[in-house]
Amino acid sequence: MRIAPERIEDAAKELYVRALKDLPPDIKRGLATLAARETGATAKAVLGTMIENIAVAERTGNLLCQDTGIPIYNVTIGRDAEVDGVALKAAIRRGCERATREYPLRSSIVHPLTRRNEHTSCGIGVPVIHIDFSDGFAGLRIEMIPKGSGSENNSWLRMAVPAEGIDAILTFVVDCVLGAGGKTCPPTIVGVGVGGTADLCVHLAKVAATRPLGSHCADPDGAGLESRLSAAVNLLGVGPQGLGGDATAFAVHVELAATHITMNPVAVNMQCHSARRSSALFTADGVEYGY
């Protein structure tokens, strides 16, 4: 199955706008669960406003949040899919630019030194495009994540050492959630990367932060950390928007990679309550949009 760049471009445009408007069902359920369980009066009201906002966005066809984020496209090439890799990357970039100009979306992307905004949501290395391969399905999948800056600005890496053990990882996660306070637009998904190299560790934290609610780390020891950390960070009382309450995080997600005998790296990346994502699956039957 050959997928033409024009179809990729159209999907890249469609995915950006869809992600900004249509919150995935797992996140909506997560908010409803937190609101039902919340004991703080202010926190309950704040969660109620978040839920009301989703209804307003759906009713008015508007974007959920004004932050159009840093556009990230995660491409997974499955079985029997043929693409021209260079053309695919160019098509994604064109689709991202078209979404920005044609909707129109706020371009949130600037040159890091001159701060110049080209009003295309594109720049050096942006949109971020990751390409991976899977034999788990036939076709090609593109996931789009508009990563909001309030949560992204609260990202950390610590190159702990083996002598500090798992305690270093646990303490670091708790202290990151504490330090972030309300700046990340809690309740958040706290993404934790453990192991790998410095750059892989941070990447894993992003993968963890953007995973659907209800999904678990494939490694049983990693999954164990997830449930313990999820309970612990919600003892802090930061609450929705940092105004106090029970609901500090939907969950803590953990992703692991093997690491060096001398290393014990841990990274944290957070996703805000407007945990937006969209996906497109290209198969022999056409393209199907989802989350």
Partner: protein, 209 residues
Amino acid sequence: MAHHDFTMPVTEAQVRTLAVDDTVTLNGALFGIRDATQIALFDRGRATRFDLEGHAVIHTAPNVRKVAPSPAHPAGYAPVCVGTTTSARMERFTRPLMAQCGVRIVIGKGGLGADSAAAFRELGGVYLAIVGGAAALETTWIEAIEDVDLDDLNPESLWRFRVRNFGPLRVAMDSRGGSLYAAVDAAAKANRAAALAALGVGSGSPPRS
């Protein structure tokens, strides 16, 4: 916990009546500012033709559509999605906003720090918390983009919105030194030991730094 309806601008005396956990609804003018706007005003010495005396500013950079100027869209911009950004990045601009421009109300999300709390106390100002990420709802409170200045910084221009029933917003920092964020932060720090104990930190694993 009182509710206040303000038509902008307001006086120092009006702002000083507000206490943490009161709620406020705004009508009239509201000015949108952001990182680049304030870097231009306070670090690069650029001036605005707007008079911010007694007014409210919101930490925002909106999604807008360019349109032909009309009575509905006098500045040639239609609002698409107007929301609020994290305030903490702009902490150092609160005092000059108040001292040099006369701003009385800062609206944002996530809170401001000790320097801003001191400026609110000394100069007479408040911080109103809006729910971040609830921009679709917030946009329904915006009637029009009335004017825009420093538009070369777009989308981080200095925007003048006309708002109707903007809120209710919670007073999260008042002019008496009260701050919900400082209170929550202190409580969360006190809860840290319990969170680490629940994780079994320090109970047999290798020592931590």
